[in-house]
């Protein structure tokens, strides 16, 4: 609770400020849209949080989003696969990607940054080749399939809780239990803090690191699937661009330390919400121009990290 206090306060402050400054912010449509975006990006954030907790990084998330986001409609529309088969394929491929990353990082001792940087280029390039750089989508077909990304559980006539957000809550709950209640979660945090001590305590640290990359890639794939079901159009050259950075930023805002060993799932979800709220604020508040988005997000992130570090050092000195 202590760890997420700061980010929770940030969320509330930005929320209230936007409610006063922005037009139509509190409207049902806008609120639903906010939840939907949080749901989509939050899945990526939770995924990368697992990797960050081990002290690693995954830069390939956006490209995995692209691969799945373009690959699934390509399989369904161009190769006449059934949606179920295409989804299975996405699951298998993303699992293999995670295993591959984990293998290179633990067994060949390559640096996570380098491995996933190469992956970032490779998967996007492969997707562009596969789709011949053509935009992919379902057109007007497969409405039932697409409803996973577009529908909402109605609350009022204008406001509903979008499916992607519901899916995020389910995934977050499972991730929370995994991290806080199981021995594997304990092992992950332990090895993120001190891999050698964890290994000497009889923990198969390599296996846990590999697992974290598999979780990350599979959640990126789930995110990619929901993004394409939601948007129904994916351009291989830019679909998912920079999404890994949004995910990493949300995880850091939510209290993950890139040194490893630290992070909470609730924090990451709130961190994602803060990121989406900022974007929303920039859209709705007149005097904030949309080209200022990166500037504002960057400054907020930096301030958050500085505040966090100062508080930590103060706590340490007091003891």
């Amino acid at each position: 609770m202590k760890k997420i206090k700061g980010i929770l306060i940030t969320l509330i402050v930005i929320y209230v400020a936007t409610a006063f400054l922005g037009e139509n912010f509190l409207g049902g449509y806008n609120q639903g849209k906010l939840l939907e975006r949080t749901g989509l990006y939050g899945l990526l954030g939770i995924g990368v949080a697992f990797v960050i907790i081990t002290g690693g990084i995954d830069l390939s998330i956006g490209s995995v989003v692209c691969l799945v986001g373009c690959g699934v409609p390509w399989l369904v529309m161009k190769q006449d696969w059934s949606p179920e088969a295409a989804v299975m394929m996405a699951i298998v491929v993303s699992m293999c990607i995670g295993l591959w990353h984990g293998f290179l990082i633990t067994k060949l001792k390559l640096q996570p940054f380098v491995v996933t940087l190469c992956s970032l280029l490779i998967y996007r390039g492969a997707t562009r080749g596969l789709a011949e750089d053509q935009s992919q989508g379902f057109g007007g077909d497969y409405e039932a399939f697409r409803s996973w990304g577009t529908e909402a559980i109605s609350v009022t006539s204008k406001f509903g809780i979008p499916y992607p957000f519901v899916i995020l809550i389910v995934v977050a709950a499972i991730a929370w239990v995994f991290l806080n209640k199981t021995i594997w979660g304990r092992y992950l945090i332990a090895l993120g803090n001190n891999e050698e001590a964890a290994r000497l305590s009889g923990i198969n640290t390599d296996r846990m690191v590999i697992l974290s990359y598999v979780i990350c890639s599979m959640l990126a794939a789930l995110g990619g699937l929901l993004f394409i079901l939601n948007g129904n159009s994916a351009q291989p050259s830019d679909f998912g661009n920079f999404y890994e950075l949004y995910a990493i930023a949300a995880a850091v805002l939510g209290g993950c330390s890139l040194r490893g060993g630290e992070g909470t799932i609730v924090g990451v979800v709130i961190g994602t919400a803060v990121m989406q709220l900022l974007k929303n604020m920039i859209n709705l508040v007149d005097w904030l121009k949309s080209h200022m988005e990166f500037l504002i997000v960057g400054v907020v992130l930096l301030v958050a990290v500085i505040a966090d570090e100062i508080i930590k050092q103060r706590v340490r000195r007091q003891r």
Binding site: R186, N193, G202, N204
Partner: protein, 501 residues
């Protein structure tokens, strides 16, 4: 009476959870060799770091030549004429001797290094310390002993008036040590003061003009040249007679618990190690730094798997390939580098204690919280761990309590063989005694205990039997009745003493 060149008055230093120094005094006259001795954790290294400007004191005064000084950086101390030679050498392997000596203060202009000046000056100083190598030699081509002399040359080239040496002989051979002593004597002649930190009381006796003893961050006493003798030093360091400090009881030895044959480690692939340890036996492993003792324990525990060898634990054959395999066979390792390998500083007492045995305190994949708490309460009581609560992060506990938690982590698994690597390094004297009592208790309960130690007292006090290693080989084995500092040192430096003599 002459004014001391360097004086330390009532220096205090606190670290989280530990009082490292609680008001110590020390002075050094020009051209004097002062030996500073004390057990690990007595505060010697902390004081030396303060003197060298590595870290500031919390309270107290530092006087150089009668004037109060404050060192904010290492450079300040260097300018005042104080140089520290760390126990672990601070040299860059990939640079030349000359480049190392002038690292960070290269003569020259606008970032352009005056190589000629470096070479000339390096050559001059190397002659002073009697090291006959070219200044252009790569450091990695020198033996540890010669590298040590390079460090001293480096200190001299800063025009140091006081050179602090922190256990300089811990990795030197006998002849290299002798050479070092000669250099120290020459330095004394030329008016340079030396603060000499060592655990080797024999050396201290040979070299020191005066001996200052620290204990638990306080001055425990001082001996003038003519008062220096072994027993007096030990009494001051330990605070009582050693015979009470190491309590061993006679008990029956059981079956062979650990049997090792033909063990080859990565570091010394041409040497085969073999020995046995019986249940209830405490076996020490003595030797100099770099003798391959830690590597042997790492190999036994599967931390850095051995190249080959036969290991049998409690009758079960097989060479452990990973720590996991080792602990399944009943081995446990308390590693040398506690903070790096033994504990997780930013996790709680509870989580550290249960880390190795969590599998057994689990319901399916879920941590069984009540069982975990039970185990932690039991271990905290059994090892009398002092902590405000099981939620406390290890960062805030003393070294002794951290070490007990490493032991607790293994005890829950009831190991047959306990391997300990420098079990009392960096912990205070009270905790040290507790660790010894625990080792004795584990042995009397039938555990086989194999411990590596660089402290002669500890080996002679605790071991039933001692293996001595030198350059990757076991050069001898001594039974308790044959223990003597001389016999162990001779084996540790490669001399030959026949077994069971």
């Amino acid at each position: 009476m002459e004014e001391p060149f360097l004086e330390v008055r009532k220096i205090k230093k606190l670290f989280p959870g530990v009082v490292a120094l609680s008001g110590v005094d020390l002075w050094v006259n020009a051209g004097e060799v002062v030996a500073l001795i004390g057990e690990n954790g007595a505060g010697k290294s902390t004081l030396m770091k303060i003197l060298a400007g590595v870290q500031p004191a919390d309270e107290g005064e530092l006087l150089v030549d009668g004037k109060v000084v404050r060192f904010a950086h290492v450079q300040d101390a260097q300018k005042a004429g104080i140089a520290l030679i760390h126990q672990e050498l601070n040299l860059a392997d990939n640079l030349t001797v000359a480049a190392n000596m002038f690292l960070g203060r290269e003569p020259g202009k606008f970032g352009w290094i005056d190589q000629g000046a470096i070479g000339r000056e390096a050559k001059r100083v190397l002659e002073v310390v009697g090291l006959e190598v070219s200044p252009d030699t790569l450091l990695s081509e020198l033996t540890l002993g010669k590298q040590q002399l390079v460090e001293i040359a480096k200190a001299l080239s800063t025009e140091a008036k006081v050179i602090i040496m922190d256990e300089p002989t811990s990795s030197l051979s006998m002849s290299e040590s002798e050479r070092l002593f000669d250099v120290i004597r020459e330095l004394r002649e030329s008016g340079v003061s030396v603060i000499y930190i060592s655990h080797r009381l024999g050396e201290v006796k040979e070299l020191a003009d005066r001996v200052v003893v620290f204990r638990d961050g306080e001055n425990a006493g001082m001996l003038e040249r003519d008062e220096v003798d072994h027993d007096a030093m030990v009494r001051m360091m330990v605070g009582r007679d050693v015979s009470q400090f190491y309590q061993r009881t006679e008990h029956e030895l059981g079956e062979v618990a650990l049997s090792v044959r033909g063990l080859r480690t990565e570091e010394h692939p041409s040497n085969e190690l073999g020995f046995e340890v019986r249940a209830g036996e405490v076996v020490g492993v003595a030797g100099l730094v770099g003798a391959g003792r830690s590597e042997m324990l790492s190999a036994l525990f599967g931390a850095r798997p051995a190249l080959s060898g036969e290991v049998s634990v409690g009758g079960r054959e097989g060479l452990p390939r990973s720590p996991r395999e080792a602990l399944e066979r009943g081995l446990a390792l308390v590693p040398e580098d506690r903070k790096g390998q033994g504990i997780i500083l930013d996790m709680a007492v509870k989580e550290n204690m249960s880390l190795a045995s969590l599998r057994h305190a689990a319901r399916g994949p879920f941590v069984n919280v009540s069982k975990e708490e039970e185990l932690v309460a039991e271990m905290t009581a059994a090892l009398s761990v002092k902590t405000p609560g099981s939620w406390q992060l290890l960062r805030f506990l003393s070294g002794g309590n951290q070490q007990k938690i490493v032991l607790a982590k293994w005890l829950a698994l009831k190991p047959k063989v306990l391997l300990l690597d420098e079990p009392t390094r960096g912990i205070d004297i009270g905790a040290k005694e507790e660790i010894y009592l625990l080792m004795e208790r584990f042995a009397s309960e039938g555990m086989a205990v194999l411990f590596v130690s660089s402290e002669m007292e500890e080996i002679m006090g605790m071991a039933d039997r001692t293996l001595v290693m030198h350059e990757g080989r076991i050069t001898g084995e001594l039974a308790r009745e044959n223990f003597s500092e001389e016999s162990i040192m001779e084996l540790a430096t490669g001399g030959n003493v026949n077994e069971a003599e």
